[in-house]
């Protein structure tokens, strides 16, 4: 299990080299979330986090998903601070002997994390305004799929 909470960017290659090193790993699925700007209005995304709670919350989710999908390994990295459009926000990765478990584990972990990892996003726009990102209805209900 690999859990990182950090301000600086991460290297996918370096992180993925660390997981799934066992000869039983046949599949690695990774998800990378990036700062998106559909309308060319975003200045920055600021991510606030609860430092004392983050790592243990992420670790508990990673352990849960590892057991539930019988995964070989799970990785979560989540950044905080001020991020520009196009920057990496976070990554999860799952290693498994079979591909469907790796896909399902990563997909589930993202649903889980959206509503349970202590991070909050605030968007600052080019016109000087800013607002806290509201949780999506779809995110709150996503967990009921599993």
């Amino acid at each position: 299990m690999h859990i990182y909470v950090q301000e600086e960017d991460f290297s996918q290659d370096a992180l993925l080299r660390d997981i799934g090193k066992s000869s039983q790993t046949g599949a690695i699925v990774s998800f990378i979330g990036k700062v998106r700007d559909d309308t060319n209005t975003l200045h920055q995304l600021e991510i606030e986090h609860y430092p004392m709670m983050c790592k243990q919350a992420l670790r508990a989710m990673a352990e849960d998903v590892k057991k539930r999908f019988l995964l070989e390994d799970v990785l979560i990295v989540h950044r905080f601070g001020k991020l520009n459009v196009g920057e990496n926000i976070m990554m999860v990765a799952t290693a498994s002997s079979h591909r469907q478990a790796a896909f399902d584990g990563a997909n589930f972990l993202m649903d889980y994390l959206k509503s349970n990892a202590p991070f909050w996003k605030k968007e600052s726009f080019l016109d000087g305004t800013s607002k806290w990102v509201e949780p999506k209805e779809s995110d709150a209900h996503a967990m009921t799929r599993w």
Binding site: Y50, Q56, N116, A117, K121, W132
Partner: protein, 83 residues
């Protein structure tokens, strides 16, 4: 009982504090929030609708009915938007 209170996102902004140490005799998280709400305009702005707020007790997510008797830290924040 002395408890550390921590605030995040717009709860923090409305109250104007990251954290504070507070003395209370409240037994549940909900009692504590209702007590805080009476401490001034900034607190009442933050706590006017408890359904918008989530809590963690000693870094674990908790319900409003949860006992805070032995809590060292209670955190108040909006629904999370990580990922």
């Amino acid at each position: 009982m002395d408890v550390k209170l921590t605030y995040f996102a717009w709860v923090r902004e409305r109250i104007g504090l990251h954290d504070e140490t507070y003395t209370t005799s409240a037994t549940t998280a909900q009692e504590l929030a209702l007590e805080l709400k009476e401490r001034g305009e900034n607190y009442s702005a933050a706590f006017h609708d408890l359904t918008l707020i989530r809590i963690a007790i000693d870094h674990e997510m908790a319900q409003w009915s949860a006992c805070i008797k032995d809590a060292k830290e209670v955190a108040f924040f909006p629904p999370m938007t990580g990922g």
